[in-house]
């Protein structure tokens, strides 16, 4: 009987010590992506996000990325779905994963309205997977294989660790914001609902969340704690999925991808030298000797990722307010930020009038734009084009993490006169500026 079970097991589950660990990961990733794409399509989001909008907020430097026609966009998603299934089953693996990576990244670059950290994560992960020998079941060189698994683990660890670092700020730790607002809004949940309105619960969640994010990767890397840590990962993400259904597939993707830490270091069968500790695997000297180019590329890839979250230090004032250097930094769930923007354009006759944003933007686009200065600038330039105007002003009111709403940018700044770029946007208000510019629309209109 025992023998039969063992046989069934080995036929269903590949020998994990060999290429099996990668096969399991590849399969889980492919299926997860397929399901995510099906959900995306079923929600009508292909149409809502890539076909309905008349204007798209491109990323700086990627203005040349344009959406295709409706048929084209549906085709892109259909190909992505197919590619993710091919990846799952190892069918034309290399070409499939490259196709998936390129198309997914293309779609994400179309409109920054839709930027989500976990989409960025998927782009990075699928990029790495382009180089993985994930189609080789009988991979014999265990040392090399460990290296590949480690790369995926390191990518996971990067997400957790930097998400944790980002939570070390006064709003999150000292004011339990924005969780205080968000948890209280979930008071209708069964069992825990009443608890969520308690202030101390918001503090407990904030601190636990920060500690979890900062430390979990270390416990996952440690062979002694990996199973406990994975259990905590499951509990943590299940809780976030229940509390914040709005974050979509993210918890599930993380739960599935974190299984890569469970890959055993001892092969079930097959030989090879078995490293007992992860640090034996990433012997930099050996890695560079075996593949100097590959090692260098992977090193650069991660160095860039480690540096990006700190680029905000190059800008003055509050990152959450101006959001310069906010994206691509694993800053998740950090802000309850809402806003509204009134755009005023001077037409050819010299008359000022207010534009209806919804004539040009979808509700989702308007919502995202209203709190992000770079998007406000992009839209202002678009309005200037549409109305052949040389004067566009934006009066933007934003509330951040429970504070009263205030002007986000200088409403007297003609946005036609400024260009987007990496330089500090001095027209974004700082606390000092706010008191000086209390705009009177009456005054502006009587100009």
């Amino acid at each position: 009987m025992k023998g039969v079970i063992e046989k069934v097991k080995t036929s269903l589950l590949p020998p994990l010590g060999g290429g099996g660990a990668l096969i399991v990961f590849r399969f889980a990733f492919g299926i997860m992506m397929f399901l995510s794409l099906v959900r995306f399509a079923a929600n009508g989001w292909i149409d809502a996000l890539y076909i309905q909008p008349k204007f798209f907020f491109t990323f700086y430097g990627f203005e040349w990325i344009k959406p295709l026609s409706a048929t084209g966009m549906y085709a892109v998603f259909a190909i992505m779905m197919l590619a993710s299934l091919f990846v799952a089953f190892g069918f034309f693996y290399r070409i499939s994963i490259i196709t998936f990576f390129l198309l997914f990244t293309y779609v994400e670059l179309i409109d920054k309205t839709n930027y989500l950290n976990h989409y960025y994560f998927i782009s990075l992960l699928s990029f790495l997977m382009c180089f993985l020998p994930a189609n080789l079941a009988g991979f014999k060189n265990l040392r090399g294989l460990r290296g590949f698994i480690f790369i995926i683990q390191l990518q996971m660890a990067t997400v957790y660790f930097f998400a944790g670092i980002a939570k070390i700020n006064s709003d999150w730790l000292l004011h339990a914001m924005p969780l205080k607002i968000w948890l209280a809004s979930k008071s209708n949940l069964p069992l825990i609902g009443n608890l969520l309105t308690e202030e101390w619960v918001a503090y407990a969640f904030s601190w636990c969340g920060m500690l979890f994010d900062v430390s979990i990767a270390f416990f996952l890397f440690n062979r002694k704690t990996v199973w406990y840590a994975y259990a905590v990962v499951v509990v943590f993400h299940t809780l976030t999925a229940i509390l914040f259904p709005g974050i979509g597939m993210f918890p599930y993707i993380m739960m599935v991808c974190a299984t890569v830490f469970l890959a055993p270091l001892t092969p079930r069968r097959g030989g090879g030298e078995v490293p007992q500790n992860i640090w034996n695997v990433i012997n930099l000297k050996t890695a560079l000797k075996t593949s100097p180019i590959g090692g260098g590329l992977v090193g650069t890839f991660f160095l860039i990722q480690f540096a990006l979250p700190f680029r905000y230090l190059l800008y003055p004032e509050n990152l959450f307010w101006h959001e310069q250097g906010f994206r691509f930094s694993w800053r998740v769930m950090l802000m309850e930020k809402a806003g509204t923007v009134f755009f005023t354009v001077r037409n050819a006759d010299g008359k000022l009038f207010e534009v209806n944003n919804r004539d040009f933007l979808t509700m989702q686009q308007e919502k995202q734009m209203s709190t992000q200065p770079d998007m406000i600038l992009q839209f202002a330039h678009h309005l200037a084009d549409v109305y052949q105007s040389k004067e566009v002003y934006a009066e933007a009111y934003v509330a951040l993490n429970g504070r009263a709403s205030q002007l986000l940018i200088d409403p007297k700044q003609n946005l036609c006169e400024v260009q987007d770029g990496f330089a500090n946007k001095s027209w974004i208000t700082s606390p000092a500026l706010v008191s000086n510019v209390q705009l009177s629309m009456t005054k502006q209109f009587s100009n």
């Binding site: 704690t225 008359k351 429970g402 629309m441």
Partner: protein, 355 residues
């Protein structure tokens, strides 16, 4: 390491248990808010509209049977009451049946389209190109477009005109009935959707209030002032005023504001002001709930201080109209940004992933 994790886990469990045992504090219950909102504002509001529409129909029928000065005055009164009742619930946009803003109040009216429809005698009021040729804006034109005596004689001999009035009123009655019925049938659904996510009742109410506040600022005040939209290119546009022919723009505006204030304060029941107070929402050192209530009063006062219809006021009382526009803008920001943010409600009607 494992030991430490175990200890941490044990602590968490103890913490959770102790929290469960702890007596509940003065919990604010969103179900209660919704229940109260339904009983105190929504249900009476839609019933009021339904009844006023029925009265309007009776008045229209007696006017058409014997068109004279008294019956026209009676119809005009019924028009005022029904229109005011619509204003009170206009913000609510929960379903195609219950949303009346577009069907019954797309202003300014398309008078050319109305005249054509009457002349030809063939039209379908449910098509998009007749959106501005029906509802209360059409009645406003039909009843007040000409002087009192002229209106009576216009209707006296004209079968097409009589039929058009009948059809417009019937349309109003059927829409008002359908909306009232929809709410009667959906009370439980409304009260039970007590979350704050997109599609929840609280989410919908906050979105609807924000949208209507924007409509007040933009369409009822900003467009006539020439501030909003390109059509009139920054020039005063009195003809875009709501209730342009009857001159009831201010009255209708105030009724609309009353409806919004009722949705905010719960009209004597539980309202968003109580909700904000419960959450301890702060606005630069004062309670946000008070700030919003005060701003409602400021808007009302600004409107009340305008002695003439908005269509005249844009030229004769421009400064007062500008004040109204600014006060409305402040109220819009308070509702759409501050209140929604403190409640954790997203200003969007469709769901999207976030992170």
């Amino acid at each position: 390491m494992i030991k430490q994790l175990k200890i941490a886990a044990a602590c968490c469990i103890i913490l959770l248990l102790s929290a469960c045992i702890k007596k509940k504090k003065d919990d604010f219950n969103r179900t209660e808010l919704l229940n109260s909102m339904y009983t105190m504002v929504i249900q009476p509001g839609y019933t009021g509209l339904k009844d006023a529409s029925a009265t309007l129909q009776t008045a229209a029928n007696s006017f058409l049977t014997s068109p004279d000065s008294a019956s026209l005055s009676n119809l005009k009164d019924a028009f005022y009451v029904a229109y005011a009742n619509l204003q009170y619930v206009e913000a609510l946009d929960f379903s195609s049946e219950s949303a009346l803003r577009n069907d019954l109040n797309s202003f300014p009216s398309d008078t050319a389209q109305i005249d054509n429809n009457i002349a030809s005698g063939s039209y379908n009021l449910s098509t998009v190109n007749n959106l501005r040729a029906k509802g209360f804006p059409a009645l406003d034109y039909l009843l007040y477009g000409k002087p009192h005596a002229q209106t009576i004689s216009d209707f006296s001999g004209n079968a097409n005109r009589k039929q058009y009035l009948t059809d417009v009123v019937s349309d109003i009655v059927s829409k008002a009935n359908a909306a009232s019925n929809w709410w009667n049938a959906n009370k439980t659904t409304f009260v039970n959707a007590s979350g704050t996510d997109v599609g929840s009742s609280v989410g919908m109410l906050v979105n609807d209030m924000s949208f209507e506040m924007e409509r007040n600022r933009r369409e009822r005040v900003g467009t006539p002032l020439g501030y909003v939209g390109l059509i009139f290119g920054g020039s005063v546009a009195p003809q875009t005023t709501e209730a342009y022919y009857s001159g009831y723009s201010k009255e209708m505006f105030l009724e609309n504001l009353k409806g919004l204030a009722a949705l905010y304060s719960g009209a004597g029941g539980v309202g968003f002001d109580d909700y904000l107070t419960h959450l301890g929402a702060d606005y630069n050192g004062t309670p946000l709930a008070n700030e919003i209530s005060t701003q409602f009063v400021k808007v009302r006062t600004a409107a009340e201080q305008i002695p003439v219809p908005f269509s005249q006021a844009v030229t004769t009382h421009n400064a007062e109209m500008q004040t109204l526009f600014l006060e409305l803008k402040k109220l819009t920001v308070l509702i759409k940004v501050d209140m929604s943010s403190q409640l954790g409600v997203i200003i969007n009607y469709s769901d999207n992933d976030g992170d």
